[in-house]
Symmetry: C3
Subunit: 269 residues, 3 copies
């Protein structure tokens, strides 16, 4: 089972390299450079555009839409809604990263609004963020989860069902849940928590994979396995978090389907 | 004397690692990624949030507020004022970085407004910026100090007294002045001037230290000694400014209290 | 001929190091950090400022103005126009990077407006972008050229004449055309396409060179030769795109006039 999931992940990676999915990002100022680079390294094309005058036209040519309201403001939220509606109307998949949901009322409300008004293909957050959005508890301080949810699979599945989406909770073991299906990913390295934006980067990674693979739950699992495996490789060369980040981005670019087939730790519940 | 100041600095670093102060940044677009990473590496938690809808709630949970109007606009200045007032009402310390004060009337005026309307715990700038704000002279070209102040200690102390703050002038020798006290920090390396944002990063570093240590003048001195020492370590491995930046961020993360105790060059006037 | 152009390029580099041109950037959020650093590394001073309250004052002290509407919005476009008019009135050269022109109507229109309303000293884009603006064809997907122009020299020269500017089309072989003159630059490395922002960085590089050299066509050629040569040097040390970027920025900083004189591949048509 495990072997075949890793092999399937490797095939999706090959697809990305062949099709070069265009990822339209409406994302936060902190990680724009890193996520644009990551998109290129995994094999996609990034574009960052948020002006109302062009959003719909840009979304229309995208393979996936990445919504990341990490440095949100009214104007950007409006633009994200326009992009989201356009994506929905054209059946372009959306991945949402609810950065800091739970830390302020505005962040929680904005992300719940997205979930209610748009059809989100994949929601990816940490345990605190998903906890806050689900109402199941969990605590967020700034943008960091400081208290997780007690029964994450149950919460993730219930939420996936309620919003007709795939819910991803990243952590030491990543949980990827649709209404009927749960995957676990055990790749990754603790160094990933020492730099800002690894959450945002994993969301972008999900964007690349759902840009070519319609089984969104599996695509998300494959994305996280790829990114986590790159983290494992990078950790071997790092002298600290900044050299780790350089090695991480290099490892994503250098990742071969064969490497992924060998190293992806994906299991199905 | 010197030994004991270094030891005290090391103890503050230990505090940061234990308490993980949350630093709410309203900062410029150029350095957001670097300062978020630096916050994590020194041991704090970064959050970047500027929307009026959430500012007060975010500031309220912060250990310190970092105001850096390096790419200012009316909207952001308004948000900074809201955050600043909230911080003052809750006695959360504020560090202000008057990026480019002196270069344009707007920058000078905006930063003087902050100093007049808010209680700023630490003001950190280069010699040209502090000169412009104090009226003591000094010249700024873009965001770089091209002409310093003649009697920096005198100016810094007078300004510290006038605004009931701590005034930090960074340079080859850093000067940290409160109304009654002056510290000098002799750590640092000339490579720090070859990358953008070392000023902003040192301000974030001050934010982390005042987030746990209430003697703000000493906290600022300890922050600059830590950052400068990291620069010294990084310079040994750098092949140029970009590899220096990687090594600098790594060195901040890897800095131990023991290393700081041995290497911090803090003296009291 | 070739030798003497390389020597002339080396002399312009020396000028930059001596004069430290101030580059006022109104640029996109994705590359701000990289282009600010690049400006410092080549020998200039960067400043990023976009508030209407200070734009004219900041532009007035600049050696060159860099307009890069890569993450454009109405407000920023307005600011770019104000800065551009001020630069024109003071005969400060402008380099324009029409990021993603052709991808959306808004991007094409905004950049044509700049060309029509302002006097642009150098227009630098990829083949798709210049194709879209010239009406000669070319296709852009997001911000990447996916289909070039058939007769780029002809198009570039015609456009240079029509707008009284220098048109630069970067690619494997860079083309730099004024109404009467065409240069080619054959420096560069394919690794440059693996990271985001090399286009934007080459535009900033052009800004530094036109900041000190009034023969804008030659200045642009010298800028691209310098940047391309840095790419060649960096490629030898890179393990992937992120370590390539570090090495690229280091190589720009470490570039000596002698190295450039030896390695610059500039020819005149």
């Amino acid at each position: 089972m495990k072997q075949s999931l890793a092999e399937r992940a490797a095939n999706v990676l090959t697809e990305i390299r062949n099709k070069k999915p265009l990822l339209h990002h409406l994302t936060n100022f902190v990680v724009m450079n890193d996520t644009a680079n990551l998109t290129l390294h995994i094999g996609g094309l990034p574009v960052m555009a948020h002006a109302k005058e062009e959003i719909e036209e840009m979304t229309a040519i995208a393979s996936a839409l990445v919504l990341n309201p990490g440095t949100l403001s009214e104007e950007w939220v409006e633009s994200m809604n326009i992009a989201g509606k356009k994506a929905n109307s054209l059946k372009i998949p959306i991945v949402l990263d609810p950065v800091g949901a739970g830390a302020t009322t505005y962040r929680t409300k904005t992300n719940l609004d997205f979930l209610n008004k748009l059809h989100i293909s994949v929601l990816r957050g940490n345990s605190g963020e998903i906890g806050a959005l689900s109402g199941a508890g969990g605590k967020v301080r700034g943008v960091e989860s400081v208290e997780g949810i007690k029964h994450p699979e149950t919460v993730a599945r219930a939420m996936a069902k309620a919003y007709n989406t795939v819910v991803v909770i990243t952590g030491k073991r990543d949980i990827i849940a649709s209404a009927n299906n749960v995957y676990y990913v055990d790749n990754g390295h603790e160094m990933m928590a020492t730099i800002t934006g690894t959450g945002c980067m994993s969301t972008t990674m999900v964007g690349a994979f759902i840009g070519v693979e319609k089984d969104y739950a599996f695509a998300a699992a494959a994305a996280l396995a790829t990114f986590g495996l790159a983290g494992e490789i990078a950790a071997k060369q790092a002298k600290g978090p900044a050299s780790f980040k350089v090695a991480l981005l290099d490892a994503v670019y250098n990742m071969t389907p064969a490497q992924l087939k060998k190293g992806a730790q994906i299991t199905q519940a």
